[in-house]
Amino acid sequence: MIPESFDYQRAGSVREALALLKQHGDEAKILAGGHSLVPTMKLRLATPGTLIDIGGISELKYINDKGDYLAIGAGTTHWMVESSSLVQQKAPALSQAAAQIGDVQVRNRGTIGGVLAHSDPQADYPGVVLALNATIIAEGSGGERTIEAADYFTGLWETALGDNEILTEVRIPTDSANANSCYLKFPQPASRYPYVGCAVAMDKSGGNCSDVRVGFSGVAESAFRDDGVEDAIRGQALNDDTIAAASAKSAEGRSVLSDYFVSEEYRRAMAQVYAKRALTQLS
């Protein structure tokens, strides 16, 4: 399968990419690792007139400890995230999610910025960055803008990124909840996309859940924070009964995806199961 013809531009820096984006307008798409975009183009579901390749910009590949948060460059590959001891220690949910994306070859190439900009409802990271209360940094011609993860995912393949903006960095707070976080996934056995991906970050004091954030990937048209589960477990003693009661609230009142393999009912039930396992694991 061969994509439709397009014009290819290689950007040497974010500034150059932004200038190219402004110049080519709606016709242009940003290419990072290309592991969502290139397959989509091969199927001719996407036919951009121009590709602006930011994959070679090394200044976008980093994981830095900034004290209050981890700064992860948009061009950082899943393998870099998976294998980073810093991420494993400060935000285990993120490294667990990275390690479960696709396969080794895909993780060598796919990038965190690419996944978040694409906002596929079946991607792993979105629910995780919600649970980790991350901040997305977008750069445009007017400079840098910060977007809270909670405001970032706006719908099916839709994000709060502007037309002439590039996602440049993801910031993960280094709080105690994120240090006690996990990501559990019920994968499609062939594609490895999550039918259900559940990320939880939890603060504990004594045997109680003092604070908690729960994010789901793969369950609805876009990733979401599940305040129903959060409200039910926050402030409660952590035991089988409270965890069962809280996880039963998973995706309550939300429209849930249904497909050939997994019905809405089954997906909803699995969301509850994975929330229960994640809460139990962190207790």
Binding site: H35, K42, Q105, V106, A190
Partner: protein, 152 residues
Amino acid sequence: MEVSMTVNGTSYTHDVEPRTLLVTHLRENLRLTGTHVGCDTSSCGACTIIVDGETVKSCTLLAVQCEGAEIKTIEGMAENGKLHPIQESFREKHGLQCGFCTPGMILSSWQLLERNPNPSEDEIRHSLEGNFCRCTGYQNIVTAVQDAATKV
């Protein structure tokens, strides 16, 4: 558009359409047909090669994305007429049936052993999940990788 890359130690420069897939470039322009096209949808791993020290699926990369890259394909594994130890193990342990997936399997095994020289059987199976053997000859492939781990 002109693209230059080093493949198995040799520099190549070609004029290609930007939409040319890397695997097409390798097979049709460079005539390196050891890299196979299986599913053509980034699933099966038959087109696995090494780009700048990391395995990738060459059906999911554009040739123009590899400007200046250092590439190794199955043809570059043997040196001076001597098989790479991983190839040797696949031969000795019969880690192949029809052979179609073998180049990808060998390069993925190389990536595994490069990152984890002493893998458990579980780790071998997990790290080869991006490579399909439709003959289902996985058992001998795992045995071959275990054998290779003692040699590389």
